[in-house]
Symmetry: C2
C-alpha cells in the first residue's frame, strides 16, 4: 500500500487504477465518500511476480489504513457492537467492466451479523448481506461454482413458492446462510482473514482467463496489474435519519438545470432502483433532511465543476450523514445533451469548443427524425400500452398498421397505408416489404442483423430482438402473453429507444431552428472550416436547406424536375422523337418550366452558390419499363382475341400500337449496364439540344434573378466525365449558350462550369480536367460504385448486407467514405485541382456528405465543402466543427 | 552550288535535301544514275533572303556542273545534234510529296526537238516531251493556269475523237506545242535560260502556299529551304538497244530472292506502267541485254547491301547503257515481308533484331486471318470479276451472299448462311446486321467511318468507300455500270487489300507453324522479356495456343464450360435449386465434367502455368432472358385461350408452369447493372458450394495429371475482388479443398492462388491484396469499363463510335490500353506487388494483351506477361520483342 485514499492523486491512474484514482479525487475535493484506501497495482505485480505472497509490509499497511477508517467512522472491523463492513474491488488503469472481481460486505460473521441486526433492526437486510458475502467469497475467493449457491437459493424459493430472492423471509435467509456456510467450508469467520484472502483473490483475478481474453481483445497490456479498493460499506436503512437515492445534477430528459432524482428514507440503494417501494422526488429531501439536501446540492455543483459535465450520483444518508457512493457522467436524451452542453458553456464550466465536441452527430440526427410525442408516450405507458423494449437499431419513430408479410406490407403501402413490418427476422426476400414499411420490428436478431443493417441503410426506424413477442406467420398475428396483435392493428415504435407501443401514437418533428441546438450549431459554424451545402432539387428544399444552415446548393439534380407529372409526357415525347426538330419542339416546352425551377433556386439561395447538374440518367428511365409494357401488350392481345365489338377492337389496337412504339424505343434504349451507359455528359454530347436547352434555362433564370436585384451564383456541373475531351465539348456548348443569353438580355452574370468527379478516370486524369473546369464535385456515390465495381441498387438488398454481417467488409462504403480506395482517388483529384489553383473548389456531394466519419475525412483532406440532404445539414455542420477541433488539437 | 553530285554525302541531307543526298549516295556507290548535281538549300535560302537574285557565282557553278554532265554523256545542252535534256526537281530535307515543283525535259526547243526526232525517229515521243516541258514550265515557272493548257489538249482530243492524250498523233502534238508556245509567251527558247528560270522557280516554291500549309501541318520548320536537283534525262526508247523497266530485288508477293519485274525494249517508263504494251518478265532481259541484266543484278545486290532492304528499282537502258532512275524500299505482302526479313538476316545483311523490328505486328496479324486463295484471286481477276478496289479498313477475307439490309443479314445468318452486308454507309441501327455478317462493304465513308470502326472493333473484314457501286436499298440490289448484284449473289472481299470480287472465292488460313514466320518469332522470343500466355477455355484452344508459342494459359474462363449444351440444363437446375442440398447435387454432376476439362488443359500445357479463373458471370446469364420467357409465356397463354383438346391444355399448362418458374428466378436474379453485381468472388462467397466444386475439380485434375507423370501448374484465380476480405475468404475455401484432395489422393501438387485486378479498388488496395495473393492478373477489359464507367456492351455499338469519330476520345480504350487512367491503376498494382516480392507475377489478360501498343506499355511497365487469344499469340510475341528492342535502344 503506497497511497492513502485521502491523499490520492488523479494523475496516478496507473498506480491506483481508474476507480481508485476517481475515489481519491473525490476525497481530495472534500466529497464525502465512504472512507477507504487503495492497494496499488505495484503491490499486485509484486504479488503476481512472487510466489503468491503479499509483499513484505503490505498487510501491516492494510491494517493501518483500516484502523484509519475505523477511527473515522467510529466502527470496528469485526466488532459486533459497531461492526465495520468493507468492500473489496478491483480497479485497473483501464476499465475492464465485469472482467474482474468484487467482494462486498467483508467483515460479517455470525457475531457481527447479530450486532448489525441489533443496530439496524433489519434482520432480512443483514442476512441477505451475509449470504451475499459468502456467495461472493465462495465463488471469487474460494473458486466454488456459483451453481452450488444458486441451487440452495432456488430450493428456498421453491419451498417458499416465490420467484425472487427478495421475497424470502429473514428466517429463510438465515437458513440459506447456514447452508452456504456448509458449502463454503473455507469461509473464514475472522474478518481480517476475509479481507486478506479477498485482496489476494482480486490480485489473482488479473491473470484469470476472462481478464486475459478481454485484454487481448481490447489491446490492453498484460503487465499493468490491478489495484484493489477497500472501502467502508454505508447503509441508508439505519432508521428515519437514513436514506438512499439517485439523482442527476440536471434533467436527463430535457437538460433543465437542478437536481432531478428519487430517494427513499430508511432504505437501501436497490430499493430505489427496483421499484418495490414508491420513491419520492429528490426535491422532497429538502423537507425531510434539509442539511443533507443542501449538502447534496453543493456536492453536485462541486462535481460538475470538477468533471465539467452533468453527473449521475448515487448517495446514501447514514444516520444523518451524506455519503456519495458513486458519481459518473449522466445519461441523457439528445435534447438534454444539446441543452446541457450549451448551458455548461454559458455557465463557464466548459468552453464553446467543448460544448461542440460533446454533442454527438447522432444526437443532432435525433432532431431530424420524427419522434413519438412525449405526452402520447407517457399516456400510452400509463395505459400499459408500452408492450416491449427491444434493441434500438435504427433511430426515429414509426407509426403504422402491423403487417406480417412483406407482400402484405407492400400492398398496404400501395394503398396509401402506413405499415410496420413485423417479422421473426428479415431476409433478402423481405426487402421490398421493408422498403414499403414505415418501420420494422423483429423478434430475433441483434445490432448487426439483416433487419438492423437494412433499416439503417434506408433510414427506416427499427426495433429488433423483441424476444417476448411471438409472431405467427400463418395466422398473421403476433402474441405477447395475453396481448394479441392482428394484421392491421396499429403499432408505434421508437427506434431511438427501442420502445414498442400498441396503438397509434402522435409524433412530432423536433424544431431545430432556434433554441439550444441553433446556438450550438452557431458555435460549430465558428469553429469549422469545411463548407456545408445541400443537395436540393426544388425551391422548397433549397429554402429548408438554407434554414438549416446550408451555404449553397451543392447538387441540384435537374432530371428530377422532368419526372413531375405534367412534364413527364413532354419528356417522353422528346425521347420518342424521330428528328432533332421534333425533339427541339418538346424541349422548347420544357425550357420555361426549367427556367422557373432555376429562378426559384436562385431566389432561395440568393447570394450563395447553386450547383446545377445537367441531366444525368439514361433516357429509358423516363419511359415505362420493359416489363410493364410487355404486360400491357400481352393483356391487350389476350383481350383482343376475345374482343366483342369493333369499337373495342379499335380501341385495343390503338393502345397496342402506342405501347408497341414505346416498347420499340425502350428496346432501342436498352442497355445491359445503364449505370455505365449513355448518360451524363455522354447524353449531352449525343443530344446537344438537351444540353443547350438546360444551359439557356439556367442563364435566362440567372438573368431574371439579377434583374430582380438578386445575386445569383450559378455553377453548371457536367456529370460522369471520364475524359477531358468530353468536358471540353460540353463546356463549349454551355459557354456559347451563356454568351448568347447574356447578349440577348444585355446582362452578364458570373458563372462557373465544373465537372463531377464520379468515375475513377476523372480522378486519375484530374490534372487534365482541371484545365477546363472551374470546380470539381466528387460524386462519391457513383465513385464508390465504380471503384468497387459495385452496383448499389443491386448490392444493398443482396450480398452487401451479407458482407457487412460476416465482416467481409468492415464498413459499408456507401454509408462512410472508403479511405483506402475511393479516398485515394479523391486525394488525387484534390491534388490536381490545387496544383492548378490554391483555392480550386472541390466538394463532395453524395450521401457521404452527411456522414460524420466521411466529413472528418473530407475536412482532413482539404475539401472545400460537403453537400448533403437538407436534413443532414445540421449534422454536417457539427461534424465539420468536430473534425476541425480534432485536427487542430 | 557547294557539293558535286559525285562527291555527295549521305549525311548532309540538310544541305542536299533527301533526294539529292540519295542520288549522291547512289552515285558514291558507283550505281549508274543519270549524272546530275544538286544546288544546295543554302543557295535557296540565300536566294529567298535576297531580293530574288541567285547568289553570286552560283550560275557559273551551275554551268560548270552542267558541262561535266555533257562531257560524261557526250551530249550538249541545246545542241540539236546530240541534245542533253535535264530535269529540275525540288528536294527538301524532309519529304513533302507533291508539295513542290518539278520541271522535266529542260533543254528542248524547236531545234533540239528536231534533232531528237532525228536521233530517236520517234516524233510522237519528242513532241509529247516538248509539250510537257512547255506545260510544266508555263505553270510552274511562269505561273499560268494549267486549265489553259488542258483546254488546248481537250480541244485536240475532241477533234481527234479520242479520250487520252497518248492517242494524239505526232502531228497533232506538234500543233499542240505550237499553241502552247503561243500561250506561254514567256517560254525561253534558250535552254540555259530555261534552266535558270526553273531553278529560281523551285527556290520560290518553298514559300508557295501549298508548301507552307504542308509544313505547318507536318510540323516542319520554315527556314530549311529546298535543294534543287538537276539531272540528265535518259531515254529507253532510243532503239533496240534501249529499254526501260521496273523490278524488285526480291519477290514482293512471296519474298523469293532474285529480281522480279517487267521491262520493254525501246520504250519509255510510262509504257511499262500503263499496260498499253505487253511487258516481258525481267528474266528475259538476260537474253536480250545480258550485260545490262548482269549489271542490274549487281546493282540490285549493291543497293540491298547499302539499304539493308529489298529495293524497288526503276531503270532505263539507253543505247546499251544501264541507268538506275530511282530506288526505294519495295512494297510487299505480309508473307514476303516476313520471308525477306528472315532471309536478309540469314544472309547477314541485317541482324536478327533488325529482322524482328522490320516486320509489323499487323503483318503477323495477316497470318491469323483467312485470306483469299491466290489462285482463286488470280482466276477471278482474269475473268473480270475483280469489280472494285475500295479502302482496306479491316483486314481479312470474307465470302458471303449480299444482303442490303441489316435485318436481312441477320435473318440469313440465322439460317446459317454466310453474308456480306452491303450498305451505302452504316449507322448504329445497322450494328446487329454487321455483327451477323462475315464482312462489310460500303460505298461511302473513309477509314474512320462508322463501318470502318465497328468492323475493326469486331474483327469483321471490311472494304469501304467503293464509290462506283450504287446501292438500291428499295430494290435490294447494287449496280456498277453493267454489273448488277442481287440480294443473295455471292461476293468475296479482301479487307487487307480493299479488293471486292463477284462470286465465291476460296479462302485459306495461312500456316504459321513453320517456315519463315516461325523462325522470326523464334528470334523474337530470344529478344523479349515479357511473357506471352493465351486465354484458352478448352483443351483444343490450349493446344493451338501452345503451337502458336504461348507459354501457359493466362486465363481459362471456367463458366464457358457450363454453357456447353449437355451441361447447361444441369447448371440451370443448380441455379433453380431451393436448397443447398439440391444445389450440391447438381454441382456433383458438373464436377467430373469440369475435372476432365481441367485435366485436358493441364495435359495441353504440361509444365506450363494454367490460370483457372473461378466462375465469374452473374447466374442469370445461364438462364433464358426475361424477354424470351415473357414471349414464351404470352404465346402459351394465347394458345391456351384457344386450345382445342384437354391434352393440349395439359401440355400448355405444364410448359407455362415451367416457364413461369424460370421467369420467377430470372426476376429474382435480375440486377440493374449485372456487371457491377453478384458475380465473381461475390458469387463464390454467396455460394461457397460452387467454389468448392471448382476447387475440387481443379486439384483432382492436377493430381490426375501428376499421376500420369505430367507437371501440372494450376494457378487458381479469384475474379472481381475489390477488398482483401473477399480474397481471404475465398482463398481459405480453396486452400482447404486443396488440402482435402491432396490428403485423399496422397499427392501434393504445387499451386498458386491469385486474384484478378479488374476493379479500380483492387488496384488501389493492391498492397493489402498482395498479402493474400500469390499472383495478380489485370483484367484490363473490366478495369477499363469500371475506370471509365463505360459498359463496353452498351458503348461499342452506341456513343463510343461517335466519340472516336468526332475525336472526343483519341483512341478506343478497349483496343489499346489507356495509359492516363487505367495505366496508373495498373502501375499501382505492380508497385504494390513488387514491394512484396521482386518477381511477384503480374500479368494482363484481356484483349489489350494482343494489342501491340498495349504490349509495349506492358513491357515498359514491368508486367510479367500478357495473355491474349491464341490467334494473337504470334502478334504478341513479336510486339513484345519490338517493345524490348525499343526500350533497350
Amino acid at each position: 500500500m503506497e497511497a492513502g485514499l485521502d491523499g490520492g492523486w488523479d494523475s496516478v491512474r496507473g498506480l491506483l487504477g481508474g476507480k481508485g484514482a476517481n475515489l481519491a479525487e473525490m476525497t481530495r475535493l472534500g466529497i464525502p465518500v465512504p472512507p477507504g484506501f487503495t492497494v496499488t497495482t505495484r503491490a499486485c505485480l509484486s504479488y503476481l511476480d512472487g510466489d503468491g505472497r503479499l509483499p513484505d509490509g503490505l498487510w501491516s499497511q492494510v491494517l493501518h489504513a483500516l484502523h484509519a477508517i475505523e477511527d473515522r467512522l467510529d466502527k470496528r472491523f469485526g466488532d459486533p457492537a459497531a461492526p465495520l463492513l468493507v468492500s473489496c474491488r478491483s480497479g485497473a488503469k483501464f476499465s475492464m467492466p465485469g472482467m474482474m472481481d468484487t467482494v462486498l460486505n467483508l467483515g460479517l460473521n455470525d457475531e457481527t451479523a447479530k450486532g448489525l441486526v441489533a443496530l439496524t433492526g433489519d434482520e432480512h437486510f443483514v442476512f441477505d448481506s451475509y449470504r451475499r458475502l459468502i456467495q461472493m467469497f465462495g465463488t471469487v475467493v474460494l473458486g466454488l461454482r456459483d451453481e452450488l449457491f444458486e441451487n440452495v437459493l432456488s430450493d428456498a424459493r421453491h419451498v417458499r413458492g416465490v420467484t425472487s430472492d427478495a421475497d424470502l423471509s429473514a428466517d429463510e435467509l438465515r437458513t440459506v446462510v447456514a447452508r452456504f456456510r456448509d458449502l463454503a467450508a473455507g469461509f473464514p469467520t475472522d474478518p481480517a482473514e476475509q479481507l486478506r484472502m479477498a485482496i489476494e483473490a482480486v490480485f489473482s483475478s488479473w491473470n484469470g482467463r476472462r481478464a486475459v481474453d478481454y485484454r487481448n481483445a481490447a489491446g490492453i497490456a498484460h503487465d499493468l496489474g490491478t489495484a484493489v479498493n477497500i472501502q467502508a460499506m454505508v447503509f441508508g436503512n439505519l432508521g428515519e435519519h437514513s436514506a438512499t437515492g439517485v439523482c442527476m445534477t440536471r434533467s436527463g430528459a430535457t437538460g433543465l438545470p437542478g437536481l432531478e432524482g428519487d430517494f427513499l428514507v430508511n432504505a437501501q440503494g436497490e430499493d430505489v432502483v427496483s421499484g418495490t417501494r414508491a420513491t419520492r422526488p429528490i426535491e422532497a429531501l429538502a423537507q425531510v433532511m434539509p442539511t443533507a439536501y443542501a449538502e447534496l446540492q453543493a456536492m453536485a455543483a462541486k462535481l460538475e465543476a470538477r468533471y465539467h459535465e452533468m453527473q449521475d450520483i448515487e448517495f446514501t444518508v447514514e444516520d444523518g450523514r451524506l455519503w456519495l457512493l458513486q458519481t459518473r457522467d449522466g445519461k441523457r436524451t439528445a435534447q438534454a445533451a444539446v441543452r446541457i452542453a450549451v448551458d455548461l458553456a454559458n455557465e463557464g464550466l466548459i468552453g464553446r469548443a467543448d460544448a461542440v465536441r460533446r454533442v454527438t452527430p447522432s444526437q443532432v440526427d435525433f432532431f431530424l427524425h420524427p419522434q413519438l410525442a412525449v405526452a402520447a408516450r407517457q399516456q400510452a405507458a400509463d395505459e400499459g400500452r408500452l408492450i416491449a423494449t427491444g434493441l434500438n437499431v435504427s433511430p426515429g419513430a414509426a407509426v403504422g398498421v402491423a403487417a406480417f408479410d412483406p407482400d402484405v406490407a407492400q400492398r398496404l403501402a400501395g394503398d396509401g397505408r402506413q405499415v410496420i413490418l413485423v417479422r421473426p427476422e428479415t431476409k433478402p426476400d423481405d426487402v421490398h416489404g421493408m422498403l414499403a414499411a414505415e418501420g420494422i420490428l423483429t423478434t430475433r436478431g441483434g445490432r448487426t442483423s439483416h433487419a438492423a443493417l437494412v433499416a439503417r441503410q434506408f433510414g427506416k426506424p427499427a426495433v429488433v430482438g423483441v424476444g417476448a413477442l411471438e409472431v405467427d406467420l400463418v395466422g398473421h398475428r403476433a402474441t405477447m402473453g395475453e396481448l394479441v396483435i392482428e394484421e392491421g392493428d396499429w403499432l408505434s415504435l421508437d427506434g431511438s429507444t427501442g420502445e414498442v407501443y400498441a396503438g397509434r401514437l402522435d409524433t412530432f418533428v423536433p424544431d431545430i431552428s432556434d433554441g439550444w441546438l441553433a446556438t450550438l450549431l452557431g458555435w460549430a459554424d465558428d469553429l469549422r472550416t469545411l463548407g456545408v451545402r445541400a443537395n436540393a432539387d426544388y425551391p422548397a428544399d433549397a429554402r429548408r436547406a438554407r434554414d438549416y444552415g446550408a451555404e449553397g446548393i451543392g447538387l441540384c439534380r435537374t432530371e428530377h424536375m422532368f419526372f413531375q407529372s405534367e412534364r413527364l409526357p413532354v419528356m417522353q415525347r422528346m425521347i420518342m422523337s424521330d428528328s432533332v426538330t421534333e425533339r427541339r419542339d418538346a424541349l422548347a416546352e420544357l425550357e420555361p418550366l426549367q427556367r422557373d425551377d432555376f429562378l426559384g433556386l436562385f431566389r432561395a439561395m440568393d447570394g450563395l452558390p447553386v450547383i446545377i447538374r445537367l441531366v444525368d440518367p439514361p433516357l429509358h428511365e423516363f419511359l415505362p419499363t420493359f416489363e410493364e409494357l410487355s404486360k400491357r401488350i400481352t393483356d391487350a392481345k389476350i383481350r383482343l382475341s376475345a374482343a366483342g365489338s369493333l369499337d373495342e377492337v379499335d380501341d385495343l389496337l390503338g393502345r397496342l400500337r402506342r405501347d408497341e412504339d414505346l416498347l420499340r424505343q425502350v428496346r432501342a434504349l436498352h442497355e445491359s449496364n445503364p449505370m455505365l451507359g449513355l448518360r451524363g455528359v455522354r447524353l449531352a454530347i449525343r443530344h446537344p439540344e438537351i444540353l443547350q436547352m438546360q444551359a439557356r434555362a439556367i442563364f435566362a433564370a440567372a438573368c431574371d434573378a439579377a434583374e430582380e436585384g438578386g445575386g445569383p451564383r450559378p455553377e453548371v456541373m457536367i456529370p460522369l466525365t471520364s475524359d477531358a475531351g468530353e468536358l471540353i465539348r460540353a463546356r463549349q456548348v454551355i459557354d456559347s449558350e451563356a454568351a448568347a443569353v447574356f447578349a440577348d438580355r444585355g446582362i452578364t452574370v458570373d458563372y462557373l462550369v465544373g465537372t463531377m468527379v464520379e468515375t475513377p478516370r476523372a480522378a486519375l486524369t484530374a490534372d487534365k480536367l482541371a484545365e477546363h473546369a472551374d470546380f470539381f464535385s466528387v460524386g462519391s456515390n457513383d465513385l464508390t460504385q465504380t471503384t468497387y465495381a459495385l452496383s448499389r441498387d443491386d448490392a444493398e438488398t443482396s450480398f452487401l448486407i451479407d458482407y457487412l454481417r460476416t465482416g467481409v467488409y468492415d464498413h459499408d462504403p456507401f454509408s462512410s467514405l472508403d479511405p483506402d480506395g475511393v479516398g485515394l482517388l479523391i486525394d488525387r483529384a484534390i491534388a490536381a485541382a490545387r496544383t492548378r489553383e490554391d483555392d480550386f473548389e472541390v466538394g463532395v456531394c453524395g450521401e457521404h456528405g452527411g456522414d460524420p466519419a466521411s466529413i472528418a475525412w473530407c475536412h482532413a483532406h482539404g475539401l472545400t465543402y460537403v453537400s448533403c440532404s437538407p436534413f443532414r445539414v445540421p449534422v454536417a455542420r457539427l461534424a465539420a466543427a468536430q473534425a476541425a477541433l480534432a485536427t487542430a488539437s
